[in-house]
């Protein structure tokens, strides 16, 4: 163990695979957070995205269609959230809980009706994203194995984090999103409907979470498993909470969680029971939450 393990190319390769879904989902969550939409249904958004990715990829025969379908599925969830939370004035927490259950039920239901299988669907017809080899990047030590040869979705996720930072600071919609989250009455007074702005936030969030699902089902592997999101949506929620929706901090936290995830995956080989490694990401999240909350409390109490 120790430094050798951390510098092991196989380990480094796995880090982006773990962090990408969390990063994409957390960026989506960050947009909602900044826009004042308390969306804790990321888990459900990702799950639907993962399923739709397989659906699109399998039937259209291309991973790109898989990604498009995943985004469409995520956006669909976003629109449902908007319909029930914004238009019908449902409490965001209630709507989130319901949508998470809805996603869990719907994906299994469709898995069984469309593909006629239970548990998992794997088929050679599912086309997945493969790694992109970037010659210049490849040869840099440590960073090379870490960053090179990942799926396009990883590079997109990192780009999205940086772009989002600029978007919030300088884009019209970004500005309005922040206003919707801070003082929506100010938007109404200026003639802009805050709910419309929040609808956009949910659409963007849905698309990003859809891609997070695509990374799980057609980039990390080429299959769909029931409840495939497995708590990553909640980890993303924590990442949003800890960073208050600041994109660059989200990127940082996602990298941190990615390391812990792949570390725990890695040490499975050292004879520890699987449950210990399975629980590590959640414990890490909990510890991060405790440490940062305590720090924040000591600053403001």
């Amino acid at each position: 163990m120790g430094i050798d393990l951390v510098l092991d190319p196989a380990f480094l390769q796995s880090v982006p695979r773990f962090l990408t879904p969390i990063l994409l989902a957390a960026l989506g969550g960050a947009i909602c957070e900044r826009a004042g939409v308390f969306n804790i249904a990321l888990e459900g958004f990702i799950l639907v995205g993962a399923f739709c990715a397989v659906l699109g990829s399998y039937f259209m025969g291309s991973e790109w269609w898989g990604a498009v379908a995943a985004m469409a599925g995520g956006v669909g969830m976003g629109l449902l959230f908007a319909e029930f939370s914004l238009r019908r004035k449902g409490d965001a927490i209630v709507v989130s809980i319901a949508l998470n259950l809805f996603a869990a039920g719907l994906t299994v239901y469709l898995l069984r009706t469309i593909f006629g299988v239970s548990g998992a669907f794997r088929d050679s017809g599912i086309k997945g994203f493969s790694g992109i080899d970037i010659p210049l990047l490849r040869d840099i030590p440590v960073l090379g194995p870490l960053l090179n040869g990942q799926s396009i979705l990883f590079y997109f996720a990192v780009f999205a984090a940086l772009a989002l930072q600029l978007f919030f600071a300088r884009h019209r919609l970004g500005l309005r999103l922040r206003a919707a989250g801070e003082n929506p009455a100010g938007l109404s007074a200026g003639g802009v409907d805050p709910q419309r702005v929040q609808l956009w936030a949910l659409v963007l969030c849905g698309a990003l979470c859809g891609l997070a699902g695509a990374q799980l089902s057609i980039a990390n592997v080429n299959l769909f498993v029931e409840n495939m999101s497995a708590g990553r949506g909640w980890i993303a929620v924590v990442a949003v909470l800890l960073t208050r929706g600041r994109p660059l901090y989200v990127l940082f936290i996602a990298v941190l969680f990615g390391f812990v995830d792949s570390l725990s995956f890695r040490i499975q080989g050292f004879g520890l029971p699987q449950q210990f490694t399975d629980v590590m990401p959640y414990l890490a999240t909990l510890i991060a939450l405790i440490v940062l909350s305590a720090w924040h409390k000591s600053k403001t109490a």
Binding site: N183, G186, A189, G190, G191
Partner: protein
Amino acid sequence: MQVDLSGVTVRFGTLTAVDNVSLHFSPGEIHAVVGENGAGKSTVMNVLFGLIKPAVGTIAIDGAEMQWRNPQDAIARGLGMVHQHFMLQDSMSVLENIVLCSEPVSNLGFVKFNTARARLREIAETYGIGVNPEKRIADLSVTERQIVEILKVLYRDAALLILDEPTAVLTPQEAASLFQILRNFRASGKSIALITHKLDEVMEIADRVSVMRAGKLISTKPIGETSKAEIARGIIGGELPASLTRATQAVGEVVLAVDGLQARGVGKTVGPVSFDVRRGEIVGIAGISGNGQTQIIEALVGLRATTGGQASLLGHTLRGLDVGARRALGMSYIPADRQRVGLALEAKVSENAAIGREGTKAFRNWLFIKRAAMTSFARELIESYHIKVAGPNARTSSMSGGNKQKLIVGRELSRGTPLIIAENPTWGVDIGAIDFIHRELIRMRDAGHAILLVSTELDEVLALSDRILVLYENQIAGEFAAADADRLAIGELMTSRSKVVQVA
């Protein structure tokens, strides 16, 4: 630009908030619209601005009838509104706030901040007002925020400015400089609609005054053809309540002693402050909101940790005591925010009335609560404090603001504790309720209770207090005895002498 509202009626459910009101606004004129809280002034202005659709009635600009779908339409036609509550984004810069909702953008939707900055500079030069565009709203004083709101309207080229209670948060001096700005606007040919309930302001600056009461327009007259007394009668539909009388009385022992108290505030420490409140006196704390009042009150009540100094109640130190223990020791508290802190709106009136008493013998039988006792207690409060409500089991949210406030005042004063802390006890309620609450506070004072009154309404502090402390930037800036309290001198101490605003 001539703007006409004709025959406007607004209904909320079964309530008619505005009933057949017509108003006319001309260029180069300041038109004041006055009335009590709830008289419908703000509702009329929201109609004019496109925030509310009237059930009946029309808006016309230069004779052409307009249909507003939303405020954007009204803004496009040259209307601008400065709302009673600031509509600013605290975490954003001045510039971001000013462009928000009318951003100049490039093709991809990115905001052209440089264009906006140049335009803002131009406006600032034209009218002689300006604020550093890069500053965050959170770091601005109340006056500066007011200026930002006005700049926002000017940025959109408004020809009619609607100002809803613009001086509510200003000191007399600041109000005077605001009026100077308004006079400049008038001179440059803009129309100004000034919503207010302060008659002195109306007499000072308005050219024309419209009086509203209970949703109806009572009169519209040029200022020269009316008088302060006539307007006042129009507002309340009768004579003003007799002015308050306070017999001077000898004060007793110290009830609350505050010694070098410090608490954490927004960004910096509040205090140290030292003062005491004795039996039989009302000590008023004046100051513009945000100068540390909330923190000091919360620290005294036990809602906020103190970071230094100490306070004692009847000689017992308050250190380490929680809210419940302090109240048991002899403290009552009328909070500023009746909607969230003063009441549980979704609970019954009786449940709100009994809060804090549920542990006492009268209301508790072993584990069980005595519902009957709660109901009859609530009924007593309703009677003795003249609270208008369907009954003890009515939902609290069904009451009007004034009656909610009376319920809180009744609940707290009926405890009969030696110390009463009242924070903006009459904020946003009608004249009847204001008068009633003021008289109750004076009655408690006469009965020998110690009262600490915090109010951002300088008139309220002046009317009730035996001694006045002025709070400025988290410190006590001065103290006055009631006899030699002077509005302007107090206003001077309350004023944030900021360098950022330059008024020509």
